[in-house]
Amino acid sequence: MQPTAHAFPENARAALADARLRKALGTMKSGFQGNRAAAIARMPEWEELREEGRRIKDHVLAHLDVYLERFEARVVANGGHVHWARTAAEAREAVLAICRQAGARSVTKGKSMVTEEIGLTPFLEQHGLQTVETDLGEYIIQLRREPPSHIIAPAVHLTRDQVAESFRRAHGGLDPGRPLEEARDLTDEARAVLRRKFLEADVGITGANFLVAETGSTVIVTNEGNGDLTQSLPRVHVVVASLEKVVPTLEDVSTILRLLARSATGQEFTSYTTFSTGPRRPGDPDGPEEFHVVLVDNGRSALLGTESQEVLRCIRCSACINHCPIYAAVGGHAYGWIVPGPIGAALTPGLLGLEEARHLPNASTFCGRCEAVCPMKIPLPKIMRHWREKEHAAALSPTSYRYGLGAWAWLARRPSLYRTGAALAARLLGRLGRDRGRLVRLPFADGWTDWRDLPAPEGKTFFQLYAEGRRPNSPGDVR
């Protein structure tokens, strides 16, 4: 995927004008937010669990090299293979080489944001491998050639009728008069079509929610069961995972799993949580004969030890996205890269650079909801602010904005001059808006007055009135 994060304002404008998108995003509040709140209300230890989750991941990040070595050693001991990839290109090549060696023609895929990040599916298709996304949402957007707009609900930006259009176009052999109005019809049709793909696949590719150092296991968490069919039916199972997915022990995974589903969908536990440890064992009647793990860096190691290291605690639950008012307004595509919302705004500049992604950490009111719901207690506003500091230091923000800010800071350091300026502004604006109590247009403030009135000042500043000796009259006493 070509990033379009640099065009965030234009993307956002287009999204705001899209009525169908507005309708699709409207379902998010009652769904994700309400369900999460209910699940957390049933877990009195929630805050302690968050603290433990944070501690586990901080511990891992501080010992990441050692944990990765231990994980690798366990995978190899179990008969699997580990491939290390510094970049997206190396990761793609590693997966292609495994597929070629297996003589593969068709590939099924579970939902995985890191494979989106490295552009794996189009790459395999270009190299002649039929590659099918099997998560329902991912399948839908693959048919539409769109990137995901949400990390756990990739097609959340679409309405039922849009999905039906795509199915009618893609599933040519079926009765054109079949009913496809309901989500049930659409789900059943996808199930039938994809079932054949599962059975004929040579290689199954999944991501990993966790890598367990203790056992060399990879863990996937899905509700549909598509990940399990992807990884248990084909002859070869390839896991693509970024470095920071490693956790120490099965106990540690268990703790984080208590946080994950509740934060994501508001379920107490996801339908299928699957631990895969090496290829099939002697005597096993099924399971893959080969097991490969591709460990992807693609910029993560460079985030360690920096102000944005804490984004590496992310478990991709999407709670921050689901509670973000900016995301709710513009949807995921506006962010122009794989991970949208607050976590995207904190992560993407680190992976793509500020020149590409400088808008994302600015597109926040710092309302703090993201940090409040993050199960890993990632200080998202703080990290976004760090990116703004880097942007300021590199003078990437618009010149007029920086000059305006500088002039204001200069004035704010000179209280008496500031008072005079404020009094002048209050008087001027107060006069302009005296009759109506507000201004409908103000030069240099189009950003404000294009969309709303500017309430007029009362006329004199507080400090003018205070200096004139005005004081409040106190009616009555207080208990």
Binding site: R369, E371, L405, W448, Y466
Partner: protein, 261 residues
Amino acid sequence: MTDAASGRGTRPRVGLFVTCLVDLFRPTVGFAAIALLERSGCTVAVPEVQTCCGQPAYNSGDRADAADLARRVIEAFEPYDYVVAPSGSCAGMIRLHYPELLADDPDWGERARRLAARTYELVSFLVDVRGMTRVDGARLAATVTYHDSCSGLRELGVKEQPRTLLHSVEGLILKELPDAEICCGFGGTFCVKYPEISNRMVADKAAAAASTGAELLLAGDMGCLLNIAGKMKRDGMAVEVRHVAEVLAGMTDGPAIGEGR
């Protein structure tokens, strides 16, 4: 300091941090704050050298200017027992972000922490520190709704305190605002950097306010109030907008925010 911390027998000295938006747009809120603080048994001073807390610079990535302004605020307010602002946003800046901003400076870092520990948003100060449970004499026959401004709510835990005091205002009926905890889209410079997004957010907020049937929307931060009032007036909505302190202090004789005389 110890006097203030130990009890209400003495009159603690509060330094009022007026905030730049109150100074420029809504002096009434400053006087309402003084009235309420005095009624809670405090002596109020308004340090003259104050301008702005530095948050716009801080949130724009300009740490140097923000730190410079922070040091000036600390110096100006150190003599007082408490710092109180009629804004969760500015109070949050001093209470949470000054210590972080100056953490690398051993001297200023310590001074920032000491000041932060005695800095409060107005209404939570009245209730949590001064033990106020009601405002006597305040009267307003109106149905009102209340927007929880983000910084006050999530940085300082301001939620029940304004409701507690509002319930004691004679004649006032409080109807809760749907999605009261969702941002109004002001966000400091955000509202002019991404005006279309800000507009969508404040339009949702205005619609939620209108849906309550309330005549008056209250909040504790001028930024949100200017934004919400500006949107309501632009769209011709009848709901009026005021700072919560005006109602609590009984200072609602003048026009509401964005209303003509």
